[in-house]
């Protein structure tokens, strides 16, 4: 049974989170929107104004292409992460409590690694001089060691490595709450383990899967170090260019305009998928 909040004091408990959200999200985001309309002073910094130049500069096929690539990359990372993490988490939730704890602690420790460490780690692992291709040579699969980074594959590997533990942790509660009798029924009725997983477990958790996809997508969209450390310039995402403008060209207004655009695009994608999800539920 739901109890509806009636008085002002009923709302007080959300006062603190709301305040934090205000101070650390709404206000900074508002400042960023304001800066995105400021006038860039070439060769120096910027001054307050209300101009659309920064958005106009962004609306070109060049930046359109980069925006498209960034969104595609983040979506692909989200899909691959969920494809890997969903079966993994399912199996994990069936294991003994002790094993689960060990795995979760391990995943949490991977999550605590900084992007810099992950980037440098993978660039060494994928290098010609010290990387895993040397192992492949030793086994006899390759003739001579080769450099696997920078490349698109390297960017994908690094990013999926980074998002995988996150994905598992997001999926874990939903999967561990899944009623085991659902699968038992399917098995009793003659489904094999794979079939019951695909026909029962996956559809039952469709909403969790969609929301996880969205969370990982947004997480991956903000990634800027890995594409830069593991990718060629053609794999640089919009986040990399935002950093370039903000940090290296001291062009805050243009960086802010690109960032606002990126946030709006990702918010609308999230909104679309939520709407779609609602319709599905209603149907």
């Amino acid at each position: 049974m739901k109890i509806k909040p009636r008085t002002f004091s009923d709302y007080a408990s959300i006062g603190f989170p709301a305040g934090m959200l205000m101070v650390f999200f709404v206000i900074p985001f508002g400042i960023m929107i304001a800066v995105s309309f400021f006038q860039r002073v070439q060769g120096a910094f910027y001054e307050p104004a209300f101009v659309f130049d920064n958005y106009a500069r962004f609306l070109t096929s060049f930046f359109g292409g980069i925006l498209g690539f960034s969104i595609g990359l983040a979506a692909l990372v989200a899909v691959v992460s969920v494809l890997l993490a969903f079966p993994f988490t399912y199996i994990l939730t069936r294991m003994a409590r002790r094993t689960q704890v060990v795995w979760l602690v391990f995943l949490l420790s991977v999550l605590s690694l900084s992007e810099v460490l992950i980037g440098f780690g993978w660039s060494t692992l994928l290098s010609r001089t010290a990387g895993i291709s040397n192992l492949l040579v030793a086994v006899g699969i390759l003739d001579k060691p080769m450099s696997l980074s920078p490349s698109f594959g390297a960017v994908m590997t690094g990013m999926v490595y980074q998002t995988f533990p996150y994905t598992v942790l997001v999926l874990f509660p939903a999967l561990s709450r899944l009623d085991p009798s659902l699968v038992e029924v399917a098995r009793t009725l003659g489904s094999g383990p794979v079939r019951s997983f695909l026909n029962v477990v996956v559809p039952a958790l469709r909403n969790s899967i969609v929301s996880t996809l969205i969370m990982v997508f947004v997480f991956a969209l903000g990634c800027y170090l890995l594409p830069q450390l593991l990718g060629k310039p053609s794999h640089w995402t919009l986040s990399v260019l935002i950093t370039d403008q903000a940090i290296y060209q001291s062009n805050m207004p243009f960086a802010a305009a690109m960032a606002v655009f990126l946030v709006l695009v990702s918010l609308s994608l999230v909104a679309i998928s939520l709407l779609y999800g609602k319709k599905e539920n209603a149907a």
């Binding site: 002073v41 660039s123 001089t129 450099s147 370039d244 290296y248």
Partner: protein
Amino acid sequence: MDDIKKGISRRSVLAGIAGGSAVAMAGIAGFPGVVRAQEKSLKIGAYGGYFKDSFDKHIFPEFTKATGISVESIAQPTGEAWLVQLEQAARAGQAPADVSMISQVSMLRGSAAGIWAKLDPAKMPNIENVMPSFINKYDDGSVCGVGAVTWYITLVSNSDVIAQAPSSWEELWKPDRAGQLGLLALVTNSFLLDVTAKTYFGGQEILDTEEGIMKVMDKLAELKDNVQLWYRDEAQFEQALKSGEIPMGQYYHDVAGLAAADGYPVRSTFPKEGGINDSGSWAVSKASEKLDLAHVFIDFMSQPEIQTLLSRKVGTSPTVARAKTSLTDAEFASVSSEIEPIIPRYDMYQQRADWLSQKWTELIVS
């Protein structure tokens, strides 16, 4: 406030232990020393890594010994990143460092935005030694920066992988260098437009017009297939160069020398067209409240003996005339070259900043 105090005392103890300087004594002795260190201390920014380590080890302790002013050194990122941080902090009335070493493109941008404190030459008699071209001034003629060190970006190679030292920047365009180069990723710190103009277009005059710059960019586009890594972060290339993963590229002569001295198979060559000569200036953030101490520091650093020490220990080239230093021929040759250097067209990077960065990004990304 308490937190800040704690931060400073902990750091000054750490810095002191690392430097073996008087600060360590003060820190270990207890609170009175810490309080004194806070009264006469300067936060000084130097590029993080080998560069700052050398300053911490060889230069700052000398300064503290001579003046009693303790130094809290701040690892600053290369180039513009630090400028942006200084500028943002100055807007909030903060100074992450009192004195910083600032490269020339950043000096110009900072001057245009007016973030540097005006310096008083009368308080710094030693800056007479510094060559006039290394003194930065505001439009009204007041001094805002004093040449700290100059450095070269040269052609570096891994001597295990590339037996013959390259002799010209043309080497970057050779087809057999495919996938072997590491170059700086930004137009304002790679200075590759200047290099290409000097190497293929008979000089930097072609960079006067947008048309000319586009021609130079077209030529640069030809070497894109050779580039394995466009790096923003020095450490990224340094590691790959040492291991031979990326055996050639452009890099800082001084840091390459330090790596070679540590036994890595790294060599730095001045190409026949000249190395790229850039310089760093000491500048004081307008938000700093320690302008007086900053004057003492800049004056100290402008002495010919200290410039000599910098060349010997950090590997930079002096900003005072060579004749004033006690560098031997061999020592001077190790930090500089007789070949006429390529001096970047700072005016171009300043005036066409946004257009250049846009064209440059399109050049390397597409």
